[in-house]
Subunit: 158 residues, 2 copies
DNA sequence: AACTAACAGGACCCAAGCAGTCCTGATTAG
DNA sequence: CTAATCAGGACTGCTTGGGTCCTGTTAGTT
């Protein structure tokens, strides 16, 4: 279903959190503030730093800082940083050998316009847009029946 | 990386194949013509039939037929039929309990504009557009080093 | 009426990819 | 020099989807 990796979701949370302060923030600090497990936060931040979306400061009293304001970061960049290039995989491995029939496989390159459209759409939305989108929008709680043996009965939001 | 399921790719191939003829075509026939494994073709066709994208005819000399011309089928419909509703999953299960911090989780609903943008982009592209896109576009062959034990050394197109 | 070709709709198994953790090394403030 | 913190990679358990198969139903054909 056009799955977006959960890590990308975390990345957005982390970036928004970073925007709350101009000072450097440590990954344990962000983990505590967001509730995301610390190792995962660290992993996300490292990836974002490698892609230049956040600036890192090593050593004691180091941490992370936004490289740019939220408005300057397109959601496409975040997805690209975490999930890799934005492209719907199609006809990847040589498993479907049907393409030799006409020597012009009916799908080769077919997805290009689709990829382009999606990339364009995602490039037009900045993190600031996403931040603003939810401020005015309360969310409804959906209580979910859950076996007692499971994790804590956390209300799930749809 | 915004993975699109391979099944959806197959669905496009099958639908384009179906458009070649107004007569009903059997799934083994389509499998032979496209090179896609027959059971998989059958699975895709059954799903597409359930969603009304193709019309099925049961019994002897039965088969499948396009319910609408290619131009009338948006790629969004195909994706929706195979992969389910178009939505980037975010904050799905109750695992990330961090949202209770501010009682206004920093991501809830955040992806809605993104989803809407993608849905809009995909609704604007019909299968006919995809078919036309590749006719004029030759593809380059990338010979891939492949262990001899593998399947036939099929040239892979990128 | 019986037979057969074809779809319908599941159940099922296996593998790939990802979330999440941990470990070791490099860097820098105090 | 020491401690705090990032950098980078290796590893593992699990979820999900790709693919197969089986049984039932429908409808032409003889």
């Amino acid at each position: 279903m056009l799955r977006l990796s959960k890590l990308t979701d975390y990345a957005v949370v982390v970036l928004v959190r970073l925007s709350h302060s101009a000072e450097v923030q440590t990954s344990p600090g962000i983990a505590a503030a967001t509730g995301i497990p610390e190792p995962t936060v660290a992993k996300v931040l490292k990836t974002l730093a490698a892609r230049g979306l956040v600036a890192s400061h090593r050593g004691a009293h180091g941490g992370y800082r936004l490289a740019r304001p939220l408005a300057g970061i397109a959601i496409a960049e975040v997805i690209g940083a975490i999930d890799g290039p934005i492209a719907l995989t199609a006809c990847v491995d040589g498993a479907n050998a049907g393409c030799e029939v006409l020597q012009v496989c009916p799908v080769r390159g077919r997805w290009d316009p689709v990829n382009a459209a999606i990339r364009e759409a995602l490039a037009a939305i900045s993190l600031e847009d996403m931040q603003l989108a939810s401020v005015s929008r309360p969310f409804r709680i959906v209580s979910l029946a859950r076996p007692a043996a499971s994790t804590s009965p956390v209300p799930v939001v749809e």
